[in-house]
């Protein structure tokens, strides 16, 4: 009966998410062609080693840890769902979440780089959202910075014995936020203000991307806590084994 209640809660959360889908998204990610070619190449070069090592890690999961495949599927589905939900924000514009923190917590950062890049590639090819030339930059901000920041916070706070729900919340929330801070830095580097330079541009882009993201990052943090909690109950039953999701 307890288990039934648990799955009912999960279904409730998911239905809630579907209801939110009333407005499809058109937000965030650097648009196709909107980075000068030099910067587009630069961010591709920065992102490729992470994607390469991430693919190696994902291959290892399939080969050596098949019981972790379900976590890989959950992380991918979560990122797909969250990065397609457009949510209104306090700035009067809208954006979407990344869902990256979950993967970083349950799979570690490198496999999550692949998860995030697949979602970005899907959106760039099929939805004209983001782009192929800007995929390097967008993968760097979302799949790389997002997952490493979330993983670092998760590991750091776990060592300090901060209660797990708070640790997970902060990891996912700040990871999401840092993605948009990175996007702002990337755009400010490519488009410094003719008068105020990099800093003036950065403030401008931060006010568009990062401030809009604050309430969304909080929502992502809470959703991640709920999903990790559900995963943890199955881990307790021995259905999922993993090292990253440590005890307590």
């Amino acid at each position: 009966m307890k288990k039934f209640k648990k799955s009912l809660t999960m279904v409730g959360i998911l239905v809630f998410l579907v209801v939110l889908a009333a407005q499809p998204v058109n937000a965030m990610h650097i648009m196709e062609g909107f980075l000068p070619i030099g910067w587009a190449v630069f961010w591709w070069v920065m992102a490729l080693p992470f994607i390469g090592f991430g693919l190696y890690q994902v291959g290892k999961i399939f080969k050596d840890k098949p019981e972790q495949k379900v976590l890989l599927a959950i992380a991918t589905a979560f990122t797909f769902a969250l990065s397609a939900f457009k949510l209104p924000s306090v700035t009067g514009s809208s954006s979407h979440m990344t869902g990256i923190g979950l993967g970083a917590i349950v799979l570690g950062p490198f496999a999550t780089v692949v998860v995030g890049t697949i979602a970005l590639l899907f959106q760039a090819l099929l939805l004209a959202h983001g782009g192929l030339t800007t995929l390097g930059a967008n993968a760097f901000s979302m799949a790389i910075v997002g997952s490493f920041v979330a993983y670092g916070i998760y590991k750091g706070l776990s060592k300090l014995n901060v209660p797990k729900p708070i640790t997970i919340f902060l990891a996912a929330c700040i990871g999401d936020l840092m993605t948009y801070v990175t996007t702002s830095v990337q755009l400010a580097l490519a488009f410094p203000d003719p008068v105020g330079g990099f800093v003036a541009s950065l403030i401008k882009f931060l006010s568009i991307f990062a401030i809009t993201q604050v309430p969304l990052a909080i929502i992502e943090g809470i959703l991640t806590v709920l999903v990790v909690n559900a995963i943890y109950q199955y881990k307790e039953k021995g259905l999922i084994s993993n090292e990253t999701l440590s005890d307590n």
Binding site: K5, S7, T9, M10, V11, F16, Q23, P24, N26, M28, H29, E32, G33, P36, V70, A73, A77, F78, T79, F80, A81, A84, F85, L87, P88, V90, G92, S93, S94, Q123, L125, L126, L127, A128, H129, G131, L132, T133, K164, P165, F191, P194, S201, K204, F205, I208, F209, Q213, P215, I218, I219, I222, V225, L226, V228, N229, A230, Y234, L239, I240
Partner: protein
């Protein structure tokens, strides 16, 4: 880690509040995408900038439906994964029960 039912309900209510509050507080806002505003900001910083690459595939009017498709993929993927785990845990329990009989 185990969240109580009440904690979960409170957390879901907070999410609801975070979504509804901006729409109540800013009834006239259009909530346009932050990336379009980013594009506008680029043009205001460097009016001569022309995007040098176009999307290979322009979904046009299909865009909305394709986003819904992506949402559906994600949501049904999650339902499938947790359904799989739930079934597996039920099966294990039945085996345990039979063994203890």
């Amino acid at each position: 880690m185990k969240l109580s039912a009440i904690t979960k309900i409170v957390l879901v209510l907070i999410i609801g509040a975070l979504i509804i509050i901006p729409q109540i507080a800013l009834p006239d806002a259009e909530f346009s995408g932050a990336d379009d505003q980013g594009g506008a900001a680029i043009t205001s910083i460097d009016p001569s900038y022309v995007p040098w690459f176009e999307s290979l595939f322009d979904p046009g009017d299909m865009e909305e439906n394709l986003f819904r498709f992506q949402q559906a993929l994600g949501v049904f993927g999650l339902i499938g994964c947790f359904g799989y785990l739930y079934k597996k845990s039920r099966k294990n329990e039945q085996v345990d029960n039979q063994l203890s009989k």
